[in-house]
Amino acid sequence: MKGLLSLLGDYTFRVVSLGAVLMGLISGLIGSFSVLERRSLLGDAVSHAALPGVVLIFLLTGSKSTEALMFGATLSGLTATFMILGIIRFSRIKFDSALALIMSTFFGFGLVLLTYAQKQPNAAQAGLDRFIFGQASAMLNSDLYIMLIAGSVLLALTLMFWKEIKLFIFDREYAHTLRFSPRKMDILLSAMTVTAIIVGLQTVGVILMSAMLVAPAAAARQWTNRLSVMVVLSSFLGGISGLIGTLISSLTVKIPTGPAIVVVASTFVIISMLFAPGRGIISRRWHRKKAVKTYQKEG
């Protein structure tokens, strides 16, 4: 058990918490758009669909470097996303079914490639599928740089296309009549989401990435009715969850950092759902009780 103060000085805590905060900020920022676009499940699908890309890159290049595998994962994730969008556009299949179909097919294909790689004589393929699904505690400086760069690019894009994204998510057809082409917007938003997911995979892994994409945004949504405030709050909540999660996982032994972050983020959601002014369940009931009381007083 380390005292809180000495913890701040500790290198690992600094690196992991910084990484977790950055990941929280990115997924909070991009997550807001995914949640509002009702595409939060895309996070989970892309994380699974990344597997074939990873194994293919390994089979082709033989290298297991993070950059190569992340490149493969991004390609695979993007292909899956555009296939899903294509299926919805050209058939009557709904988004969630297309998602489940593409996700399981891609993951199955990844499994096939994995077992094929496993039969190869060289031992380099060991633990390949663990490579893309990172652990928060194993944060390296190089990860921080990747996240910093990706984060700033995503932030810049969000600021540049702020009103286009807002308009596009709210009323896609109206945007079309104002000559903002929906296809360009779809590509932009999908690319941003997939990038955020792949970068996040490195830190918290598959399952937790889809939570981090959604939880901060869902929590932030309860506190405000302005998109700008929601996105800022969502990034903030993402970052804070990352920090607190890392703190909890650092103070005691045997608490994995990724899952701790997710639990913290989910608690924020529950708190927001109950207590957010005007919208939260408890606060609405409290208002109703107050209104009834004043009504009785007057009546």
Binding site: Q125, A126, A136, S249, V253, I255
Partner: protein, 309 residues
């Protein structure tokens, strides 16, 4: 009308699928399938010429994460003898293979043959054992004796060959044991600390007086927390441990992060190279036998830990 055709097509396919594979028994050497590479090597040494040994898991495959291919079905189907590690190393697959004993299929499981008093138990869950028995050469000698005994039972007329091979192999293992002890002796007492990515080397530490620390628990599903990382980094810095080790089947970034943590404490620790944990090396590296792999491991360990800064 349309889906009636489709149904017929499916049934047609099923029937054709079934007839395609017949099971045929050829005479010749007994077919033995071993799950892990270590067991395959052991069987190879036991049954020179009498056994046709195939390993289910290739080199570098982590038994915890093993994904079976379709070919394994035939392998197991046609195997005369199945050799498994047990003690839950192969997970549910191990239990399934073990259950083959009931219907007469010849199965050898180390779990039945090793004296449980010598096995390391998990603190909280008493009846769960650490399966990485091959890291203690003396235990591995017991395993060899047990396997040889079972082989003699199952293949009577090969008995003397097995006995002969056993003695040969035991001497080789003894030589290995001595070699390890000599190498370990080169290390001063307080330097004998082995830090690896996951907790596979307890038996090694137990047998050769090493303190062993793993970043993750035995099963790779667990995730190391930041707290574990910090605690381990403090430990390494205080004890001024010269090197920590990567494992073939675990992403190196975990150990690299540990190294960075230790460096931040002002102590320059090296990554002492790659250890084979849950599987033997591959042919190119020349460490594709148990003895060669263990030698490579011990050399890496001692060389890296010895070089005082």
């Amino acid at each position: 009308m349309k889906n009636k055709i489709v149904i017929m097509l499916a049934i047609l396919l099923v029937v054709s699928g079934l007839t395609a594979c017949k099971t045929d028994k050829q005479p010749g050497p007994l077919k033995l399938v071993a799950t892990t590479t270590m067991l395959a090597d052991l069987a190879e040494n036991m049954g020179k010429g009498r056994l046709e040994v195939t390993g289910l898991m290739g080199p570098g495959v982590d038994p915890h994460l093993y994904k079976a291919g379709a070919g394994d079905v035939d392998l197991l189907q046609h195997a005369d003898i199945v050799l498994i590690n047990g003690l839950d190393l192969e997970g549910k697959m191990g239990d399934v293979l073990e259950s083959l004993k009931k219907n007469g299929r010849k199965v050898i499981s180390l779990e039945d043959g090793l004296d449980s008093s010598r096995l390391l138990r998990d603190e909280e869950n008493r009846d769960i054992f650490d399966p990485h028995v091959w890291f203690d050469v003396s235990l591995w000698q017991d395993a060899a004796r047990y396997v040889c005994g079972r082989l003699c039972e199952l293949d009577k007329d090969g008995e003397n060959i097995y006995r002969e091979q056993l003695d040969l192999y035991i001497t080789e293992l003894e030589e290995l044991d001595d070699y390890i002890k000599i190498r370990v002796a080169e290390l001063p007492e307080d330097m004998r600390v082995l830090v690896t990515a996951h907790d596979a080397f307890q038996y090694f530490g137990h047998a050769y007086g090493f303190e062993v620390k793993g970043l993750q628990g035995i099963s790779t599903t667990t995730e190391a927390g930041t707290g574990d990382m910090i605690e381990l980094a403090d430990f390494i810095a205080e004890r001024r441990i010269q090197a920590i080790f990567i494992e073939t089947s675990i992403p190196p970034r975990n150990v690299e992060a540990l190294q960075a943590a230790v460096n931040s404490r002002g102590f320059d620790v090296k990554i002492g190279g790659e250890l084979y944990s849950d599987s033997l090396g591959d042919a190119q590296s020349g460490h594709d036998s148990y003895i060669a792999t263990f030698r490579a491991n011990i050399d890496t360990i001692v060389e890296s830990l010895k070089s005082e800064g």
